[in-house]
């Protein structure tokens, strides 16, 4: 099955405020979209609408293929060791232990496996969330500010992972106020502000 992600005429309302309207996009395998815009313009809301976590005020989203979401919340138990916290998602996703170890090594997390998640730094937590996303093995990645908290090496690593994902026929939507090296169509959300 070919992965697809398409949105048609999306409008988003939060409270009494219409954040944006008329946003459309269509992504085929190997394509990426960079959602740019200032803070509070609705990048995160758009990501959540694309994920199906938020109902759009108008318009519709069609997806085929599994969805992976990376946002500011790592969804890892703070008290658990990194291995146990990632292990829970690996068990749900059916990730093989070998693959989990590989991802952890690629992200420089293997030495931290025994450390409780609450002791990890912001950047380390972000990388752990990336490992969770990799283990999910889904074609559609929705990344909300994926570079926040990452150091230069971490940023390069994240960009490399996304490039690799796209090369393998994946789809990525990246909401970020920062520049992202991966070539991608840019959607400037300010143009759709209501």
């Amino acid at each position: 099955m070919q992965a697809r992600l398409a949105a048609k005429d999306i409008a988003c309302r939060r409270g009494d405020r219409l954040l944006f309207r008329g946003v459309s996009c269509a992504l085929a395998p190997g394509e990426a979209l960079h959602v740019a815009g200032a803070n509070g313009i609705g990048k995160s809301s758009l990501i959540r609408i694309l994920a199906g976590l938020l109902r759009p005020f108008a318009g519709e989203v069609t997806r085929s293929g599994g969805i992976g979401l990376l946002d500011e919340r790592p969804a890892l138990d703070p008290q658990a060791s990194l291995q146990a916290a990632l292990g829970f998602w690996a068990a749900l996703d059916g990730t093989k232990p070998m693959a989990l170890t590989e991802h952890a090594e690629a992200l420089g997390l293997y030495d931290l496996f025994d450390v409780p998640v609450r002791y990890l730094s912001t950047g380390q937590t972000k990388r752990a969330a990336l490992a969770r996303l990799l283990g999910q093995e889904v074609p559609i990645w929705l990344l909300d500010e994926p570079l926040n908290g990452l150091d230069t090496r971490g940023v390069a690593l994240a960009e490399q992972l996304v490039a690799h994902h796209l090369a393998n026929g994946g789809i990525a939507v990246i909401a970020s106020h920062q520049r992202f090296a991966t070539p991608a169509a840019t959607l400037t959300l300010a143009e759709f502000a209501a």
């Binding site: 994920a51 976590l53 979401l69």
Partner: protein, 217 residues
């Protein structure tokens, strides 16, 4: 899938578990049983007559203590969003949480009821009905607690509010559960169990809807 969920929920909620799951509710329960004779005086007949009811009230209050860490931390950490994206419905997650919550507090509470009964000079027959009543009633208390914890999870100061909201809803369980001590025919036990089962069937749906509502908000 439910096995994976349940294993994590138990690891989080059991005493000594990851989220500071502790024996505190249990000690609280025993402390109430210990305080009561100090307050009303050490008359054995009075204690034997009223002790069962006191243990019921203590059990109800002890069931409120763990609610704070039942749902809100996972909601904040985005665990339910990630579960949703993996096709795990909120209802399933809540059903697993309900079972884990009950397992984390009820069996130990039943055990603690033994020393509490001794402190209050309860006769053996009363103790038997009390234990059966608690066994029948605690799933209902867990179900009410879970639904309320999910409803108040996204609110600030939700913990105190959930305690207040649980108490009126738990009154039917208390009436029939504690009432069964005075009626030897077992009808009170049957009614307690019936209410409990009904609440357990409803709670995952109520809690699941509450989590979805919190997501949209």
């Amino acid at each position: 899938m439910i096995g994976v969920l349940l294993r994590r929920d138990l690891a989080v909620l059991l005493p000594g578990g990851r989220r500071g799951g502790s024996l505190l509710p249990l000690l609280f329960f025993l402390a109430v049983a210990m305080l009561y004779p100090f307050a009303v005086g050490p008359e054995p007949e009075l204690l034997a007559r009223t002790g069962g009811g006191v243990i019921w009230v203590a059990a109800l209050l002890a069931a409120i203590l763990p609610l704070e860490r039942l749902v809100s931390a996972d909601l904040e950490a985005g665990v339910f969003d990630q579960l949703y994206l993996r096709g795990v419905s909120e209802e399933l997650a809540m059903a697993s949480r309900l079972l884990a919550h009950w397992l984390a507090f009820a069996p130990l509470l039943l055990l603690a009821a033994l020393p509490a009964a001794t402190l209050l000079n309860l006769p053996a027959e009363t103790l038997r009905i009390l234990l059966l009543g608690l066994l029948a009633g605690t799933p209902g208390l867990a179900a009410i607690g879970l639904a309320i914890a999910a409803l108040t999870a996204s609110l600030r100061g939700g913990a105190a509010l959930s305690g207040l909201m649980v108490i009126p809803l738990a009154v039917p369980i208390l009436i029939f559960g504690a009432g069964s001590l005075a009626r030897p025919d077992g009808s009170g036990l049957a009614l307690t169990a019936a209410i409990s089962l009904g609440l357990c069937a409803l709670a995952p749906f109520a809690a699941g809807a509450a989590i979805r509502a919190a997501r949209e908000g």
